[in-house]
């Protein structure tokens, strides 16, 4: 008898143990996702009609309590988003539960797996452009082009979050640039001029290096950072060959065989030996610290690093940092390669369809943008028509970057112009930056890498 009782006890404990084990494994921070799945099917495709009532003209928002989950990678500064989320809670009754994920390849993997398995959060933060195209967005995300408020999004931006005439994303923050961040104090100390050409830039680096400074900051511990020089050089590629994008998309123009494309990879060769000693172990966060504390002169980085430094330090520190576009060959044509912001996408298969759309509409309203800029200064212009940069923007954005925009010398990065981006780009850039291969070899590797992406996307490329 005793034995029986013991056996029952043990088995029940085991089952309970198993069950709790399972559920805690999938829970994460998003409590809301699982229990609703059954109900979801019956509600089926939500109707569009419900929307019209909350397109209130004079900032009157419909108040209805709801909780939305939001998946985002941890390298994005969320101060601005959080400020909007606070406001949304007050005005719309929508509580946002943020769930962090890894960036880079691990993050891509997680996003794709969760989309395919139907476990995606209600809202998702993810890249615009080619990376979005690789997600098969029509399958998973809410098409916002049916709503009037989506018309106020910038046209270039809309092009990077669209597929098959559908529009999916709203910008999470401001646009930014892939450029050179430089230490203005160090430039003053060594009496250097902002370089107009690549050769001048390399000469500046050599001067700093000989003076015992760290001329280049490398943060290749996070391999994605190594791409910024290559990707940020796209303005110069287009300057040399205006038809590069169309040729590339058609599979006829290759990096290895075109002079314009090859020069991007060759630039890495010139910088060998100029990096900080531990550049292969330094992470993005480490590098932000180095930039802020003046331990390095230049860093090829997205201007989102300014916001990161701002939230770690203060505006004064950020204003010691200047920005110039990746220098090219022609001194009279120096431009800036612009990145479209990370976007927020709504999960089409969520049962909170209406709440998601409500939040997205609110997110691009002036009211929300004001709250955002109050909490986090922009890294570049906003992708909402008619919304101006605030007066207290960072010097680098207000002065340095704006000059490029005023002169019309900007171009979006390649990943926003074509759907093809080789997935091994970070590793290839890291390989050439650490001197393991030549620029030619890296360009060839990247071409092969892009070929794989083209096949996956169903493009008709010849090998």
């Amino acid at each position: 008898m005793k034995k029986k009782v013991l056996a029952i006890l043990l088995t029940s404990m085991m089952t309970i143990g198993l069950m709790t084990g399972c559920s805690s494994g999938t829970k994460d921070t998003s409590v809301e996702t699982t229990p609703t799945e059954a109900a979801q099917k019956e509600e089926a495709a939500p109707t569009v009609a419900t929307d019209s009532e909350n397109t209130a003209a004079d900032g009157q928002w419909e108040y209805k309590e709801a909780t939305l989950t939001f998946l985002i990678d941890s390298d994005v500064s969320l101060d601005g988003f959080n400020a909007v989320a606070e406001l949304a809670k007050e005005k719309l009754g929508i509580t946002i539960e943020t769930e962090m994920r890894a960036g880079g390849a691990d993050g891509d993997n997680l996003v794709k797996t969760r989309l395919a398995s139907g476990e995606m959060c209600d809202l998702m933060g993810y890249n615009s452009g080619s990376l979005l195209a690789a997600l098969n967005p029509t399958e998973y995300f809410i098409d916002i082009s049916q709503y009037d408020w989506s018309k106020k999004l910038d046209d270039t931006y809309v092009g990077t979050v669209s597929s098959e005439n559908q529009v999916f994303g709203v910008p999470l923050g401001s646009a930014q640039a892939g450029a050179v961040l430089y230490n203005k104090e160090m430039y003053a100390k060594y009496n250097l001029q902002v370089p107009k050409t690549w050769d001048e830039f390399v000469a500046n680096c050599k001067v700093l290096d000989q003076a015992g400074e760290t001329a280049m900051i490398g943060a290749f511990g996070d391999s994605w950072t190594s791409q910024v020089l290559f990707l940020g050089d796209y303005y110069n590629v287009l300057a040399k060959d205006p038809n590069f994008t169309s040729g590339f998309e058609a599979g006829t123009t290759k990096y290895a065989t075109s002079e314009a494309g090859l020069s991007s990879f060759k630039k890495y060769e010139d910088l060998n030996g100029l990096y900080n000693d531990d550049y292969l172990a330094t992470t993005y966060d480490d590098a932000c610290d180095m930039m802020a504390s003046g331990q390095g002169a230049h860093w090829f980085m997205l201007t989102q690093a300014l916001s990161n430094i701002y939230s770690l330090y203060d505006k004064e520190t950020v204003d010691k940092i200047g920005v110039f576009g990746v220098p090219g060959a022609d001194a009279s044509n120096q431009g800036l390669t612009v990145w479209m912001p990370t976007s927020i996408y709504g999960n089409k298969n969520s049962d909170k369809y209406d709440d998601i759309v409500r939040f997205m509409e609110f997110y691009v309203s002036d009211e929300a943008l004001n709250a955002m800029t109050e909490a986090q200064l922009p890294d570049g212009p906003f992708c909402v028509k008619g919304y101006q940069l605030p007066d207290n923007a960072y010097e680098a954005v207000k002065t340095d970057m704006q000059a490029y925009f005023d002169a019309g010398k900007t171009s979006t990065a390649q990943e926003f112009q074509t759907s093809v981006k080789g997935s091994n780009c970070p590793a290839i850039c890291q390989e050439v930056a650490s001197g393991q291969v030549t620029g030619e070899k890296a360009a060839k590797e990247y071409d092969e890498d892009c070929y794989k992406q083209a096949i996956q996307l169903g493009l008709d490329w010849k090998e």
Partner: protein, 285 residues
Amino acid sequence: MDKKKIYSLWFLVPATTIFAVFFIIPTLASLYFSLTVWNFDSSKFCGLDNFKMFFSENSLNIGIKNTLIYAVLTSGLKVILAFLIAVFLTSAIKTKHIIRSVVFFPNLISTIAIGITFAALLHPTKGIINSFLSIFGVGRIDWLGNVDIALFSIIGVDVWKGLSIATVIYIAGIQSIDKGYYEAAAIDGANGLNKLLHITLPLSRPSRNSVIILSFIGGIRSFDLIWAMTGGGPGFATDVLASIVYKQYAAGYYGLSTAGNVIMLVLIAILAFPLQKYLYSKETA
């Protein structure tokens, strides 16, 4: 008779069902999908293109070489070091229970945690290992950034982590050796080294074979530690087969990465089965 046979067959149903659902069907499905361009929603048949593409992969040469170096070195080092530790731990020392626990400890920690911790310890400028070495005047070594030593740094950590299981297997093997052999040898005047070389070493062969097979297969399909420490970098310098497949999967090339998995399955089978056969033929002889 017939009835009895059918009756007994029913006992196989539960196990077979599980095996079929979780092993046989996925394996067959993956064979099919490795021949397609696949994005989860739809797949387009493309013949052997994926295999062709996988073999023309630029990092594959590095990957296969690294995989073999990794498997052979980790397996070899574990076999030798674990044997020495096991001999030490089966000898008459007072604190052997505590030391045994200590040796087993690394195996209790998650591999990813070990990888992240060691990546920090091996940091070229801030890592504790280089700080320690600098006391002895050893210059700064970029353990994970230097292309020539990165793989070996990871191998070192893998050995540190995997020694415990190998040691436990050895201890079990050594303890099961009949004490009579040692007594007989002692009467014949054998010293400790003689006993070790002529009794312990040959008679622990079964456990050694298990260690070799387990650690070799483990080495071939190793991924987690490498991914946590270098992510296959710098560049492609520490890529192994599994990390190449993982990166392709992460990029959304599901058909291609499935083809890579099929290739890996075949490779493991080609290497592991003959090895096992060889080792066991020695054992029974």
